[in-house]
Symmetry: D2
Subunit: 379 residues, 4 copies
Amino acid sequence: MARKIKIFNDPVHGFIEIPHEAYIAYIDHPYFQRLRRIRQLGMAPMVYPGGTQTRFGHSMGAFHLTGLAMDVLKAKGAKIEAEEEAAVRKAVLLHDVGHSPYSHALEGLLIPGVNHEAITRKLIERIGADELVLQMFDGAYPRKFFRRLISGQLDMDRMDYLLRDAYYTGVREGVFGADRIIKTLVLENDVLAVEEKGVLSVEKFLVARRLMYWQVYFHKTCLAAETMLRLIFRRAREIHDGLRNCPPALAYLLALPENAPLDDKTLDVFMQTDDSDVQYALKLWRHEPDPVLSTLCQMLYARRLFKSVRVEEIGQESSYFCVYQTVSNAAYSEDEIRILTKSGEIKPFSKVSDLFSTFGQKIYKTYKIYAPDEANIVD
Amino acid sequence: MARKIKIFNDPVHGFIEIPHEAYIAYIDHPYFQRLRRIRQLGMAPMVYPGGTQTRFGHSMGAFHLTGLAMDVLKAKGAKIEAEEEAAVRKAVLLHDVGHSPYSHALEGLLIPGVNHEAITRKLIERIGADELVLQMFDGAYPRKFFRRLISGQLDMDRMDYLLRDAYYTGVREGVFGADRIIKTLVLENDVLAVEEKGVLSVEKFLVARRLMYWQVYFHKTCLAAETMLRLIFRRAREIHDGLRNCPPALAYLLALPENAPLDDKTLDVFMQTDDSDVQYALKLWRHEPDPVLSTLCQMLYARRLFKSVRVEEIGQESSYFCVYQTVSNAAYSEDEIRILTKSGEIKPFSKVSDLFSTFGQKIYKTYKIYAPDEANIVD
Amino acid sequence: MARKIKIFNDPVHGFIEIPHEAYIAYIDHPYFQRLRRIRQLGMAPMVYPGGTQTRFGHSMGAFHLTGLAMDVLKAKGAKIEAEEEAAVRKAVLLHDVGHSPYSHALEGLLIPGVNHEAITRKLIERIGADELVLQMFDGAYPRKFFRRLISGQLDMDRMDYLLRDAYYTGVREGVFGADRIIKTLVLENDVLAVEEKGVLSVEKFLVARRLMYWQVYFHKTCLAAETMLRLIFRRAREIHDGLRNCPPALAYLLALPENAPLDDKTLDVFMQTDDSDVQYALKLWRHEPDPVLSTLCQMLYARRLFKSVRVEEIGQESSYFCVYQTVSNAAYSEDEIRILTKSGEIKPFSKVSDLFSTFGQKIYKTYKIYAPDEANIVD
Amino acid sequence: MARKIKIFNDPVHGFIEIPHEAYIAYIDHPYFQRLRRIRQLGMAPMVYPGGTQTRFGHSMGAFHLTGLAMDVLKAKGAKIEAEEEAAVRKAVLLHDVGHSPYSHALEGLLIPGVNHEAITRKLIERIGADELVLQMFDGAYPRKFFRRLISGQLDMDRMDYLLRDAYYTGVREGVFGADRIIKTLVLENDVLAVEEKGVLSVEKFLVARRLMYWQVYFHKTCLAAETMLRLIFRRAREIHDGLRNCPPALAYLLALPENAPLDDKTLDVFMQTDDSDVQYALKLWRHEPDPVLSTLCQMLYARRLFKSVRVEEIGQESSYFCVYQTVSNAAYSEDEIRILTKSGEIKPFSKVSDLFSTFGQKIYKTYKIYAPDEANIVD
């Protein structure tokens, strides 16, 4: 009796078991293996050198947490069919396969105007996942709570990436009790809720999330590096005909017109790209004749980064060397987490949490200008 | 050259070094050694069995953090004299020597109406600490920031006990970045402040604190056990003349009149008490003829605890078997943490933190009745 | 549908679930609750102040690990009946109920000549555990592998106490991969074995165990304190008739003759003792007229401990103030851990591990004299 | 007063402070920044997906531990000049700058026959480090103990990489008490030794090291992937003239003759390479006409890895698709760690440690054949 259970060693969750052979085929698929070559945090390791984790590890982690959530719900009496469980776990496993190299930093720039969810959608089909997986991914499946585990205020994606990013960057304050929150999940009339005793843990999670956003994801230097990377690719697209050197997959994508359809060939080429193409292109382009491109590449490669200045409002147009940018984040958004109170009611989280009733949904914006630091201009 | 540096192994902070021999005399003092026999959390191990840490470990931890804070401030250019540093560390080291057995649970009950700070004050004198230590403990020293490290919104006491209680109880969500907050401390015109980049960490600290209060310190079952313990000692005082068996130190204290002065003899006897007297008395008193005392002791010993009911308001009088109680906590109190903004101003934390501007100082109260659970009445 | 699953928060293992109501009755039993009042490490907190954990937490932890082991074995196809699983978990849960106050330090001294296993055996009967539990505890059950989980080179008891003692004392080097070892357990022809890939983890476990023995359990100062405690109780037994003050339960036990049978009354009284009786007696006896007893108690209470001197051999007789003692420990004993090799054979661990083939079973002895430190004699 | 202290967030050690501006110039140097783009463990993430850490983080960590060691030695009275401290920290900081892309996997293959130490030596000169740094790196400095901190049985390099690799791969059993070992370092007559109380910690370190070697560094699948990568580069060198596509830096290096001198141009080109060149070349070469090269690249890219077979001895010649390989490791080598015994003598570790006296220096070899797995051949 040959067991085909595979076990992965994960620094965040310990052992991750792949309970059924069916999942292994997905993990072994070249589209999923590609995620080994795409860093989770794009340019953030420029600031947090420890943060080198990949989308592969994150996807495995989210897959694992989904399994735990299924166990908890079933132990509390929820009726979940084996096919449903398999489908939601597959949807979570594959939820990131459509990411660009450098993740969000190049989102919408390699295939112009197409976001990673749309690409993921196509790839899940290609991988041959069954209809149920697609329905859950799309949110079309009648039992809506599955969708909330894939994407929502408290989804397994978020749970994993916050913990993982905190672990790797060393921003230990990003840690929260994912295991405790998952233990308090419950299905009440097919609505996914958190038991009331979990409210403080959810608050902690939201505060950890807020902290990770402002301290890591929106760190001014991370954003400066990402801004530069985006400018480089905008410029490369503008002058793609004239580039002397360019990795062929990137060359193909840079030549795509603005509203090109997401056809098979484009998808094939996109699947050939990973972080190494971008890193390698950056090195090459330092020597391009176009001064905008070469200067930006030289600066980014040598870590001579733009400086940011906080401004009150955004007035002028951006150029290649002076970019206006807004980042905004709500600690907690409208798609409410539900709480199952001790008296058996389902209430929105903002009605139960003292802390977030007055605060949560407000959106915090910061306006910034990014421009070269005087000290970084060497010529 | 005999070095007299002593190193303690601490599960929370790693190695704790005692840098000067002067401190060792304080640590070796019987008043400080007594803290080895007083649990930090009183009855909380009834609910969190892991929470067996003592005031000894906590005091060492707070002492350690104070040393770190001194290092940070000095490295940033603050002028702190060696005697000042020694004094503040001694004041923090000794800040808890006046605690009763079972810590807060019996506060004001063994020496009626006297709180542990007043007792600590006397004991610091007795131990022979110099004038500077007393001034700092009293808040009478002109450089007021020292007092804030001993007692305040962000003092070293709080930093240590939150981390330590989280570590021992296993409520891991109580963890926050003490090291990071300490790294951001700064002295600006002799005002202790946190650099603006530490604001998110302070928020995390306040949320962790809030979580520990409601999840551990005010856990309804912990409070039930503490309520019972307090009732037992109230009753024992009422009938102290008639007690058949009583540890002699407790007998002396129970016979003190309501407004007895805190004289030397009382202090001597008080210093002879620790958790073992209380635990042992509980066992003895299960067999006292007084039915109130014996019943309460039998119940508490056997962990047949009062149940709590949340009520809207408190109306009636308490009795020995039906107690009305209020607990309240503000996430953040009036004595404001100061933030040194990037522009060099000192601002109150509530003006800098989005999260706490609208929330912090509101006081949350819960009204409860504690009474025996029907199921726990056995005869 | 009232679920009766109880969850304990454990700092070492996270959440411990009590899956069946049957176990709750055992946990709620006064004999088991008494373990809340008995520290795991006796006098070790004198040296490692953090090490205040109790036998209650440890027993819960070992119970938890046994559950994990059952899950692993069953997932690998082992046939284990529900009653067998329940019985082995109960046997592990209760394996320490017969411990003295201060655990090993007073072993055999309160009920002279009777060890804690014999007492535990009687108590398991009294608690009303069924025949299967007793058979497993005794090693009489035909499927011998269950006994190895309760007591053996790699039992769940040891796994838990090493991890737990490392966690609480802060001797982090005592940590090893219990989860990994448990994952590699396998049942081969009803013989409990570790898969070959787990050999390095077992080595790490044995080295961690060795480290904990010499660094904590056999720490010379811990042993000095325990030696003093044992001398105190030997003396107290000798002069029990003349003691002025003595907690009644201890008085009863100290009056037992050397070969007294373990009768019901003795067991009842023994079950009334816990650490508080011993702590309290120590305080009382400082004032006994017998100079041996009072001096030893004064010294131990004030932490004026015996010093140890390492000697080559033990020649003379011990007295109350000069004790010869041997401690010995084999890193690995004869009762061999079995390894299931990749080729499918069962081999003894010492034939598979390079590291322990040449080393393991040798017994390391240290001979020591414990006597008062000159500096500690005050009068 | 502008402070120029920089702080890095490190997931392994917490905050790493750069105490003097002098170090910052080294860290900012392009040679050091390049280490951000070189993974520490080469192909190991194929097996341990979490293990994505870079030589940059590791070098910073080793630098940090060296600072701690300096503090400990000085606190124990060792006379260490400020220039000596700066020099040893710089030597440790830079000790890895000469590494190839993919670290050890491509050692000696890009610049044929030249190891990374030789390259590092040249680069340290180029970076402009002063004479003292070079002397210490070379082991030519009269106070020999500095060299042992840079490279030896217990050097800061090893301490950091073992901890870091354990942290990132999630092989938690690789953890040991680096902080404790460093605390026990002492200088006795200018000989670096560990105090006797640290012997158990050193044993734990050696066992952790052994575990990391066999479980991670010599994991059969990691070695299979590295073997394939080495074959690919051997083949690419053989046919470099005929390669259709090749990143220019690699093309230059592959054309170097066997005994080419390590000249300036070669060094310049080598410094332009990082992991992205290799990753990118692998992708390109899947489409080369040479069937050996393209097949190997296709297999490695798709994670169709060679299988290993353990053999007793190595007899035949290797080919591109059947490689004989030996790996060997001594748990402990001849360059003895010194122990300062309680009686004040310096003894070699193997004379003090029971565990390693009989074991340590034996070299363990494994002979293996690596060849394609039948199941992996797809054509």
